[in-house]
């Protein structure tokens, strides 16, 4: 009887943790692959408008962003409307054409996602669109949030 007891005590009750790192690594690799590190700091405020008729862009590689909105100044103040492509503000709208044309050469299937602040005026949006037509980047997307039904 006593011998029986002793046997039970010596049995290891640990869960084998040797494969735990492998599981975690699998998760890690998934997140590493799916991560897109944010490489740009947006210098304009872009509160997107809400819409219902939305389509998703699955291929993130094809997308290039143009931000239009009031410039963020020090101390939470907002300045004049600015246009930003990648990480720099575009001072002269005529440059949009050359920048976007170069991007189109690199990626012929380019989709331009316009992230425009909802308070912006149409004038600047139409000017940018006119430049995009000149550059030949015709596929655009008015980025907007899903409408929350009230």
């Amino acid at each position: 009887m006593a011998g029986h007891f002793q046997k039970k005590v010596t049995t290891k009750q640990d869960i084998p943790t040797a494969s735990l790192p492998d599981i975690i690594f699998m998760l890690l690799i998934f997140f590493m692959v799916s991560t897109v590190l944010r490489e740009t700091t947006v210098q304009v405020r872009t509160t997107l408008p809400q819409a219902e008729a939305l389509t998703k862009i699955d291929q993130k590689r094809l997308v290039s962003y143009i931000y239009i909105g009031p410039r963020k100044l020090d101390g939470n103040r907002l300045g004049e409307t600015g246009v930003q492509i990648d990480d720099a503000l575009v001072e002269d709208l005529g440059n949009v054409r050359t920048i976007m044309y170069r991007k189109l050469v690199e990626q012929p299937k380019l989709i331009v996602s316009l992230k425009v602040d909802e308070t912006s005026e149409m004038g600047i949006v139409l000017d940018v669109q006119q430049e995009l037509r000149e550059a030949g980047t015709l596929r655009i997307n008015y980025s907007s949030r899903r409408e929350i039904p009230s």
Partner: protein, 185 residues
């Protein structure tokens, strides 16, 4: 003799229990920095640049549904003041008219929606108008898909993607939306 025995027993393993912790730290870092949210928005295709010597093709006045959005975000549909929610029905009536009502389009394939804004029009009013127009098209496509025996348009699209077939619904009801230039002030 006893010394030799001790040496044999020592295991040459690297402790792997902390490996999980290291991996966890990395995992948490990537979890925090990942943005999986997909970009959503209203897709449009801009018209190509016009050549100077080529005139744009003539379009009958009747086939164009003109929507005007002014500086205050107020909407005129065919010169009639209208609420934003009304646009959806107007677009549907216009596109599916097929010559019945002289105010709307002659046939579905020729119907065109023109959206014109002022330079000072706020962007969100423009998007809400554009959204309504697109919703009208989506609802018409849904109706077409149901007529073909699919639950909705999305199901139809996945079905034809599998068969590599042409999108017949989109060919029948083409989303023709034109964004007009504002008048020079």
């Amino acid at each position: 003799m006893s010394l030799l025995k001790k040496k044999k027993r020592r295991e040459a393993e690297i402790p792997t229990s902390s490996m999980a912790d290291i991996a966890f730290l990395l995992l948490i870092f990537f979890l925090v920095t990942t943005t999986i949210d997909v970009d959503t928005g209203i897709g449009m295709v801009l018209p190509p640049k016009l050549e100077d010597d080529i005139e744009p093709p003539p379009i009958k006045e009747r086939n164009v549904l003109k929507i005007l959005v002014n500086e205050q975000g107020l909407v005129l549909v065919e010169d009639q003041p209208s609420a934003v929610q009304m646009i959806r029905d107007e677009v549907k009536k216009h596109v599916l008219n097929n010559g019945a009502d002289p105010r709307y389009a002659e046939e579905t394939g020729k119907a065109l929606i023109s959206i014109k804004t002022a330079r000072q029009t706020p962007y969100d009013s423009y998007v809400s108008v554009l959204d309504e127009v697109w919703m009208a098209y989506f609802e018409m496509w849904d109706a077409e898909a149901r007529a073909l025996g699919y639950p909705d348009y999305d199901a139809y699209v996945t079905a034809i993607d599998e068969q590599d077939a042409e999108n017949a619904i989109r060919d029948k009801i083409k989303a023709a939306i034109s964004i007009a230039e504002p008048d020079a002030a």
